[in-house]
Point group: C2
Chain length 199, copies 2
DNA sequence: GTCTATATGGAGATAGAC
DNA sequence: GTCTATCTCCATATAGAC
């Protein structure tokens, strides 16, 4: 499975051969079929684990300590960090959906809808508490998730910023998108500044 | 070429067969090879045209009328609109880079670097003019472009929001990311509100 | 559970007539 | 510039010994 993740991430699902996966795993091509019935099932397993992880990350943030600001910060921080640290896996999880069989895609799509719901929940909570100012929750939630997901497309581990730095910067950007920061410190305050306590 | 764009967008480059492209174009498979030497060259042409268009869109916005706020708004609006309206093409342009031959990828990469430079220029101009407040220009520019590009991945023409509505919402989000809006109207003002005149 | 060997199908690309 | 017919290669997946 690790070999398949690497190969799919490098070349894409369709450009990857079962021979490539097998040789990375130190096996013969035939040995793969003991563990997975088809190449697509291998992709499905990878995709399922990754999507379950995404839902878990966001759920833990959404139910975590603190108020909406802390929860949104936690959600973006850990979601971005995962997409950066595990950009290889994430790339397969996020960009190879069209290669899934129909019934597998349906199952995965349900998990993806769940991530949208969780993000909208965090934003709505913040608006209700008067801590966010968001003209259109649905679009904003989608934009935030889009921003996080796309990290896996361009992230380069040899680049200047590591996952933690990137995650912090993105969390600050997202707080701005959500109109957080109260009415007092706008414009002048550093984007990293966060109101509220706890952690 | 239009047939190839459609096929690549639907299935991905590697999953698309030359027979599929040919039949969409109402040709025999052999006829393709009169116009393009290989399937990869077809992708390269599509990618090149798309990237040149991206650079042109951003350049026109960056050199357009008004100040930094108007220019950033114009850049995001037209860039997002293109990724939504032409999401089929954009998907191929943005997500099939790994299928390009080495020398073609090098040429395309130069154009992609150019888009980053243009966006950083707009942001730097705004910071210098005191109209943007941006802790880290490079990351912010990359995030803004990432946000726009990723539109082509998820955009659904049958969804509730058309390209124009989406573009306007994204422009408003991006102004927030840039810390625009002066120091006066923070928190309370609708995200669509823009300071500055001209147009 | 792994191997070697292979069945089977379909891919990209070309030949040569028109 | 387009066609039909086809070459050649390599893909996924299986068979059967160990």
């Amino acid at each position: 499975m690790r070999a398949a993740v690497e190969a799919f991430a490098e070349r894409g699902f369709h450009a990857t051969t079962t021979r490539d996966i097998a040789s990375r795993a130190g096996m013969s091509p035939a040995a793969l079929y003991i563990h997975y019935r088809t190449k697509e099932e291998l992709l499905y397993r990878i995709s399922l684990v990754g999507h379950e992880r995404s839902v878990r990350i966001l759920t833990e943030a959404a139910e975590g300590p603190g108020g909406p600001v802390e929860r949104l910060t936690a959600a973006v921080t850990s979601f971005v960090r995962w997409h950066a640290e595990r950009h290889t896996t994430a790339r397969v999880v996020q960009y190879e959906l069209s290669a899934l069989a129909e019934e597998h895609l349906a199952e995965i799509s349900a998990l993806r809808r769940r991530t949208g719901e969780i993000m909208r929940g965090i934003l709505a909570e913040g608006v209700a508490a008067g801590q966010f100012e968001i003209p259109h929750i649905r679009s904003t939630a989608r934009a935030i998730l889009s921003l996080c997901i796309d990290v896996s497309r361009w992230f380069d581990p040899s680049g200047p910023d590591g996952p933690d730095v990137l995650a912090a910067r993105y969390a600050a950007l997202v707080l701005r998108m959500a109109g957080a920061g109260g009415g007092a410190e706008a414009g002048g305050a550093p984007a990293g500044t966060v109101t509220g306590s706890s952690g």
